[in-house]
């Protein structure tokens, strides 16, 4: 199972997993369950109690699912949620003309996604849009249901116009950050022997991949949705599902400058700060400002959030990279450095979001139990948990866990900066060239700690 000299474990060599992966039925079953849950969530959101904390749609989407995504799916499985996500399913089924495999004749125009819109630009913009309306979205069940319906409709429409999973690859606000953080995760799909692929004329892995990814050309896991279709169709059994060390995709200098990933990483950092201030902080005026959409206070909040996301943090980061380039006399172009060094923002962002999620979700877990008994908020008590509340003593552990998360993310980020800088500058200058980047990460983390614990 371990390739010689490799620190990877090919999980597809495990007989039970191999059977599960090679058959299309288990994934179809899992996706059908999530789709059923998704439809139920929309119905409850539209028909249930307007009080967010009593409505299954709000609690399951923004507390249970969000927590699972941030604490489990992304850190351990990268884009594993994408493999069972219900959003692209109806569109994909229509596109394929079948539930399991591609039919001979597919439905839809099959156009290529416009080159100018490639990358994470749209995903960053949509995440900012969600951030602007976050206080309303996270508390209004009707709005949550309409957003879910809107995403489902958009995914379906794009599937009928464009080829493959255009929505997931270029538009989905969740897929965007899940993709960049997938680089930190210990799971990957990779080619075993590249020579076999080079001589394989049919390229069945590529022609069958719903994401349009050619495994041999994959430079990281950000675009792989872990659907395992390539493992199923490879005629040479030459693709592996590897358990790998955390962050294996990070620390490389890239041949392509991806400033879209840099912007998304910065948007995720600024959103973590902004959401912490609004949802965890004690400032009632800020909560009101974020909630009262259309008011003067809301416009001020929106302006501040956008300024933080698009000016302040990108400005500070650019300054740090410029300073690092100047002191280290790195020869690579400035744009390339901006993109390459931003890899260090990924563990920083991921662990910051974990810290935020601990405080955001832990105290509200009792709501999850309550809506299981009373999903519509109509006073039911189906499984006897409608009045359950967690002992308040349990919540005392949350701040310690948050500190642990921030510190781990910061260590990882600083270490990654050191490795990235070492590839660009002479060893004698490396130490000074790291300081601005490490300083940026430290400043961000201290601000986050102040919001979480201050």
């Amino acid at each position: 199972m371990f390739a010689p000299g490799e620190s990877r474990l090919n999980l597809a060599r495990l007989r039970v997993l191999d059977k599960l992966i090679k058959s299309r039925w288990p994934l179809l079953l899992a996706r059908s369950i999530t789709l059923a849950g998704f439809v139920f969530t929309i119905l409850v959101g539209l028909l249930g109690s307007p009080v967010g904390s009593h409505n299954f749609a709000i609690i399951f989407v923004w507390i249970a699912w969000w927590t699972a995504l941030k604490l489990f799916f992304i850190p351990l499985g990268g884009r594993s949620w994408c493999s069972v996500c219900p959003l692209p399913m109806p569109g994909e089924w229509l596109q394929n003309g079948s539930l399991l495999t591609k039919a001979q004749k597919s439905i839809g125009l099959g156009m290529r996604w416009p080159r100018r819109l490639r990358g994470n630009w749209l995903a960053s913009g949509l995440f900012l849009l969600i951030g602007i309306f976050s206080a309303l979205t996270l508390t209004d069940a009707r709005l949550t249901a309409w957003i879910l319906l809107g995403l489902l409709g958009t995914a379906m429409l794009l599937s009928l116009i464009f080829e493959r999973r255009a929505f997931c690859s270029y538009v989905c606000p969740i897929g965007g950050f899940t993709g960049i953080y997938a680089k930190t995760a210990p799971l990957e799909v990779r080619v075993i022997d590249s020579d076999i692929c080079k001589s394989h004329a049919e390229k069945t892995c590529y022609t069958h991949c719903p994401w349009g990814v050619y495994p041999l050309a994959m430079r990281d896991s950000s675009q792989c949705g872990l659907c395992m279709e390539c493992l199923r169709v490879c005629t040479y059994d030459n693709i592996s599902l590897n358990l790998r060390p955390f962050g294996s995709d990070l620390g490389q200098t890239n041949s392509i400058t991806r400033l879209d990933e840099t912007l998304l990483a910065l948007v995720m950092l600024s959103s973590a700060l902004s959401f912490s201030a609004v949802f965890i902080g004690p400032w009632g005026w800020l909560k009101s400002a974020a909630y009262d959409v259309g008011s003067t206070a809301w416009w001020a909040y929106t302006g501040a959030y956008l300024a933080l996301s698009l000016l302040v943090l990108p400005g500070l980061y650019t300054l740090a990279v410029w300073w690092s380039q100047k002191t280290g006399q790195a020869k690579a172009p400035f744009k390339r450095l901006l993109a390459d060094y931003s890899q260090a923002l990924l563990p920083l962002g991921l662990f910051t979001w974990i810290a935020f999620t601990i405080d955001f979700a832990f105290p509200k877990f009792s709501y999850v139990l309550q809506v299981l008994s009373d999903p519509f908020g109509w006073g039911w008590n189906l499984v006897g948990t409608s009045g359950v509340s967690l002992p308040s003593a349990l919540l005392g552990a949350a701040p310690v866990l948050q500190v642990g998360a921030v510190v781990v993310g910061l260590f990882w980020s600083a270490n990654l900066s050191q490795r990235l800088v070492a590839k660009q500058v002479q060893p004698a200058r490396a130490r000074r060239a790291i300081l601005p980047l490490a300083g940026f990460s430290l400043l961000f983390s201290l601000t986050m700690l102040l919001l979480l614990l201050g």
Binding site: A135, K287, S288, V407, R419, L442
Partner: protein, 148 residues
């Protein structure tokens, strides 16, 4: 040789981390006092939102609701207070161990109810200072790791 340097590096980093996390902080000698807080609760906010007391203080909270029914509970304390609109509800308790404890509205009061929070600060905010120290240590260790 490199193996021993790694052990030394991690030994030193973990030791410093433990010192920062567990070393006793200087405590100001204070006698137990009685503290009274009149908290106004309205639309997602407590005012004042931060209550600073010392360990051992007898703390009385008078909660006045200015709009709808609000509640008040404190993480780590088995206390619960409900105030009807325009009415005052009060409770008295003894502040325990130093630390920062979240005040929460415990009665559904509107859309942002789950996020209506405040803070009871007992003694100094040691955790924040320790966290800042650990963050600084993490950066230094991160930059130095693999240089050893």
């Amino acid at each position: 040789m490199k193996h021993w340097k790694k052990i030394l590096f991690w030994g030193l980093a973990i030791s410093l981390g433990l010192v920062i996390s567990l070393a006793p902080m200087p405590v100001k000698a204070t006698s137990s006092n009685q503290k009274l807080f009149k908290i106004q609760a309205s639309r997602f906010a407590f005012s004042p939102a931060v209550l600073a007391v010392n360990p051992g203080d007898q703390v009385t909270i008078e909660l006045v609701s200015q709009d709808v029914v609000h509640g008040l509970s404190i993480d780590g304390y088995d206390l619960h207070l409900v105030a009807d609109p325009g009415q005052t509800a009060s409770m008295t308790f003894t502040a325990g161990q130093a630390g920062s404890y979240t005040l929460r509205c415990s009665e559904t009061c509107g859309a942002m109810h789950p996020f209506m929070v405040g803070k009871l600060q007992v003694g100094g905010n040691d955790l924040l200072w320790r966290a800042a120290g650990l963050a600084l240590l993490a950066v230094i260790a991160g930059v130095w790791w693999k240089r050893v």
